[in-house]
Structures are given as C-alpha cells and as structure tokens.
C-alpha cells in the first residue's frame, strides 16, 4: 500500500538511532486487522500516539515490547530487533499500562523497589532509584501506605514511577491521563514533558484525546484503524494557516458587512462564529492584508476588536484526514 511516511525525520537523524522504527508492521488477529503495514519512526523527546480506541495503539506497544509477534513487517526499538532481542528491549524500556496494575496490599515504595530489581538493579540501587522517581512523580509520605487506598491520581503516579524505576532509555506510556481530574491531568502532562525534555528519556505517550498531547509532544503520530494517518512535528500541525481572524463590534450584521466588503475587495472571506475568516491574498497580490482590513473597517464605520492569525489544531487535521479516509463502519 502507499504508506504515509513521516514528514519530519530530521530530529530522528540528529540523534542517530531512532527510539522506535517500524517497517510494514502488520498484526492480523484474524477477525481484526489491528495494524496495517505501519511505517513509523519515533525519535527523542515526546511523541504523541493518537488514535481512537481500537486504532491499534496498545497492539503497537505490545509488539514493541516483544510480547506479541507481528504477522508481517519488522521493527526496532533503540536499535534492537523486536523479533530476536525482546529481553534487551525490555531491559531498556519502561512501560506504563493503561489498565490497573498495582497490587493493593503493597506500598508504592516497596513496589517500585521491587520493580527496579525486576529490571536487574541491585537492592541498594533499587531503593535509591525508587526514592528518586517517587519524588519526581510527586508521591510524598503516602508512598509508605498500601496502594489499595490511593486515589486515581496517586495510582497513575505510582504506575509512572515503576516505569521510570530502572532509568529506561524510552518509556511507553499508555493513556497516562485516563481518569484524572483536570488539575491532575495538567500535572501528569507536565511530568510527561519533563521526562522527555529534562530527564532525557524518549517518550511515546498515547491518548485518545487529541487536544492534550499537542501541549507536551514534539511529534504526533496519528493512527486510525491500524493505519498511519499522519506523523509529523507538532509544530507542523499547529502552524499558522495564513488565514486571519477578524472581530468587529456588534453582531452578525456588522460581521457580514465587513466580510462582504473584504470579499468584494478580492480577499476571500467567510464568517466563522462571531468572526470573519480572511484568507491570504493570491501569490501575486502585494497588498497588505492588515492595512486593507483596517481601512475597510474604518470606511464602514465599524469598531475593530482584534485581528489574529488562525492556527491549526490537531483535532482539525485529524478530522479532515479521517473524513478523507475510507471508513469501514
């Protein structure tokens, strides 16, 4: 199939070996095609893996951990082949699952020490690492209490701490903000950002909520029905579109008055909400759009409130691309 190749691979090339690289990765469960010839490269920093439930995010993570064999294709994690070097990959990767995974009768402190040991750290080093990562994720005195009594936010922090316990080179975070209230969600996203940027650990973070990832991720990979819909730098998603949004005092009448005048002046304009969206002039047009808008508003006697550049949001792109894609259901 004609795969959509990631647009931005420059960042990956800079770091040498990519954190994750897949070639034609396919997983066919028989009844469901979970991954369909996926080509994707993930570099350093934070990469958001976005897709609706069932888009293949969890399947991809399991294959990357070497827990699930792909039907076809190949993949490398930190330069190690998933087919032959599963144990090496799992020694260098941290995994935070989406579902519950904490024993209720053990304290976070004991649990993170144990999990660090399960990655090969000696006991003393495991204790030191556990204290460090629990501090980083923000679990204070409660770390000595059994985890069964934790709030969702505290559980998510403990899950994240065990993923970091062995100082991995890459962490796979499956829906870390799931079930969190807005304040905890912001804290968790800030933590994710710090792991990718301050800790120097590559992060692949999944979410079915598109909006939250654009704040913390450097790259975004969009999956839909097991196929790669788009992969590019977050900034590409969020680039200005060239369109200007203009708001004037008054209501729909005033808005349409300005819109029609600008349209007649040769700037394609459409009403959008309570503002006028003015598209950029044709390439040969040398007129200054900002001046034209100001002058037109003055001529019409309208009170100009603001002129601002229009930005893409990840949601917009996702919506456009999904609308264009063949939807089997």
């Amino acid at each position: 199939m004609a795969t959509l190749h990631p647009v931005d691979r420059a960042a990956d090339r800079r770091s040498g070996v990519p954190a994750i690289a897949t070639q034609g990765l396919t997983k066919d469960y028989g009844s469901v095609l979970a991954l369909d010839s996926l080509d994707v490269t993930v570099g350093t920093g934070v990469t958001g893996l976005v897709g609706a439930n069932g888009a293949g995010k969890s399947t991809l993570i399991k294959i990357l951990l070497g827990l699930l064999d792909p039907t076809a294709g190949s993949a490398q994690v930190l330069g190690h082949d998933i087919a032959t070097e599963g144990a090496e990959i799992r020694a260098r990767v941290g995994y935070m699952p989406e579902h519950e995974c904490l024993p209720p009768d053990v304290s976070a402190s004991d649990f993170v020490v144990h999990m660090a040991q399960m990655s090969g750290l000696p006991h003393a080093a495991a204790r030191e690492r556990a204290a460090d990562v629990l501090r980083h994720v923000g679990l204070a005195e409660e770390r000595y209490r059994p985890m069964g009594g934790y709030s969702t936010g505290m559980k998510q922090r403990a899950k994240l701490a065990q993923a970091l316990a062995h100082d991995p080179r890459l962490v796979l975070l499956d829906e870390p903000t799931n079930g969190l209230d807005p304040a905890s969600r912001d804290d968790m996203l800030e933590l994710v950002r710090r792991i990718g940027h301050d800790f120097g650990i590559a992060v692949l973070v999944t979410s079915h909520l598109l909006g939250e990832l654009e704040r913390v991720s450097d790259h975004v990979v969009v999956l839909d029905g097991g196929r790669l819909l788009r992969a590019s730098a977050t900034t590409d998603f969020l680039d200005t579109t060239g369109t200007l949004l203009v708001e004037v005092l008054g209501g729909a009448t005033e808005r349409d008055l300005l819109g029609r005048a600008l349209h007649d002046a040769g700037f394609p304009s459409r009403p959008r909400g309570n503002v006028v969206a003015v598209e950029p002039p044709a390439p040969g047009d040398t007129r200054n759009v900002h001046d034209m808008i100001r002058d037109t508003a003055v001529d019409l006697g309208l009170g100009l409130v603001r002129i601002q550049p229009d930005h893409h949001r990840i949601e917009d792109i996702f919506r456009e691309e999904v609308a264009g894609a063949v939807q089997p259901h």
Binding site: L65, A87, V93, C101, P103, P104, Q162, F199
Partner: protein
C-alpha cells in the same frame, strides 16, 4: 520551613546547611544491572517472603504465621513431654507429622498459593513483569519455586523442632539424623506436589476465593475420598485397589512415599511390590513436574495474549 525559598543556591554540601531540599534534577543510573539469573533470584526471594506475608501489609502476616504456630505447637509439646518423661524415642516419626497436620498444611498451601499467582493476574501486575527482561517461563518457575520453598519450610519447621528436641533428649544422634534426612527428602516431594496443585488452581482462578476453595477441596476433600476408598479396599482384602487409588492424591502419594523411602509408615494401603513402589515415586515426581509444566504453559500463553 524556617529558611526562605529565596535563599541562594550555594551549591556543594554547604547548600544543605539550611535544611532546604533543592531539586537536584533527574539522576540517570549508571550502576550495574544484573542478568536474568539475578532477577529470577530476586523474584524468588521476594516470593518466599510474600508467602509468609513479609513485605506486604500487616494483616497478611496473620494467617501464615498463625498456621505456622499451630503447626509447630504439637511438635513443641511432643519435645516437652519427651524431655520431661525421658522417652528413648519420639512417639511420632518425622514424616508422619505432615500426615497428621494435613488440615493445616492444606490450608497453608491453599491460602498462600494465590498470593504468588492469582494476585499478579487479578491486579494486572503480570503485565509489568512481562514488560521486563525476565521471560514468562522464568517468572512462573521463580514463583513456583517460592511457593514450594514456603510449603517446604512450613512442613519442615515442626520436624526441625522435633529433631533438635530429640538431640537435646540425648537420643541416638546417628539414627535421628538419618530419619531426619529421609523426612527432608519426602517433604521436598510433598512441597513440590502441593505447590503444583495450589499454583495451578491459583493461576487459573483469578479470584482468590475460588483458588482457595479449589485447592482446599482437592487437598482435603480429595484426600478424604481416596482415604475412604483405601479403607474399604483394606476391609475387603482388595489392597491393590487402595494402592492404585493412592496414586491419585498428593497426600496418599506422600503416605506411600513415606513407606517406600523412610522407616516410618502411616499409609492405609502402602504400596507393595517393587513396581508399585517405583510407580509411587514416579507419579509423585510427575505430579510436581507436570503441574509445573502446565503452569509454565499457562504463563507462556498469557505472555503472548
């Protein structure tokens, strides 16, 4: 905190003087990392501790230690009586002890198996183990080993008390040591069989209650059924039937093993003839290893699910 947060960061050890916790940032780990052997050993040791509730909440220590105390108590009493009266031999042979405390042993095996197996499956912790270097097979092996060790320690604790008591009472040391070592051997086989039964139930039933009921049902109720068959066959002078029936339960297998491998005897219909004796040993080993094999298979399936 008395010192203000605007205190300049002086750096070095002097910076700690004011009791201010500075964020020293993320520290990467550059130290040694053990291989699979070291990880498996660590998992095994944690498992042995967990069987007795150590490293877990306070109330999870109650049951294993209460059972252990009940299990050791008769041995302490025996030792006390023996030293007080000055008997020349123990009233109960070492390997017979486990047969008389089957209820305690069965309860211990049934209650503690789920701690090592059901708990990880029920709470999803298994996926964290599987995402780490150790394979599913090595994980199951370490868990089984920990459970078998816990059960073995449970069986051996009163026997050790009796052995030390016998030595203190100045019984024949050579004879006592030989009997003690023979009891150790059959206890190892018993621990292996019970760990397989309890482990298998615990790895299949995710709810602790089902695993406990299944294991207790098998060990205690099943024991009763087989013992009744053996009793009837003895009454009817059909010992062979009882001998064959004994192959179908770990406790009657154990009784047969005791008869074959030690001087003691508490089997209702002990195996007779070399072929049957060998069969008892082979079936015991097969039960322990076969159960372990099924456990490994179960975890290999889980890993690739």
């Amino acid at each position: 905190m008395p010192s203000s947060h605007t205190e300049p960061r002086t750096g070095g050890p002097a910076g700690r003087a004011g009791g201010v916790i500075h964020d020293i940032g993320y520290r990467p780990y550059a130290g040694p990392r053990g291989g699979h052997g070291a990880i498996a050993r660590s998992l095994y040791l944690t498992g042995v501790r967990n069987v007795f509730g150590l490293g877990r909440s306070g109330k999870s220590k109650i049951l294993p230690f209460a059972l252990l105390a009940l299990n050791v108590l008769p041995a302490v009493i025996i030792v006390g009586v023996v030293t007080f009266i000055g008997l020349s031999s123990l009233p109960l042979a070492y390997p017979e002890y486990a047969a008389t405390t089957t209820i305690l042993l069965g309860t211990f095996a049934a209650a503690q198996g789920p701690i090592l197996f059901s708990r990880d499956l029920r709470h999803g912790t298994i996926s964290l183990y599987l995402a780490r270097p150790l394979s599913a097979t090595a994980y199951a092996l370490a868990r089984w080993g920990a459970l078998a060790t816990g059960i073995f320690a449970f069986v051996m604790a009163p026997i050790l008390v009796m052995y030390l008591g016998a030595l203190l009472a100045q019984m024949d040391a050579g004879e006592q040591t030989t009997d003690f070592l023979a009891a150790t051997l059959v206890s190892l086989l018993l621990a292996g069989m019970l760990a397989s039964v309890s482990g298998l139930f615990s790895a299949i039933a995710l709810r602790r209650g089902f695993a406990v009921v299944g294991t207790i049902g098998t060990i205690l109720f099943g024991y009763g059924v087989v013992a009744v068959i053996q009793g009837i066959s003895l009454e009817q002078d059909q010992e062979r039937v009882g001998e064959i029936a004994g192959l179908f339960h770990p406790m009657t297998l154990y009784a047969g093993l005791v008869n074959v491998l030690t001087d003691a005897d508490n089997a209702i219909t002990p195996p007779t003839g070399a072929a049957m004796e060998v069969l008892y040993v082979v079936v015991s080993v097969l039960l322990a290893l076969g159960g372990l094999g099924l456990l490994l298979l179960r975890y290999r399936r889980l890993a690739t699910r």
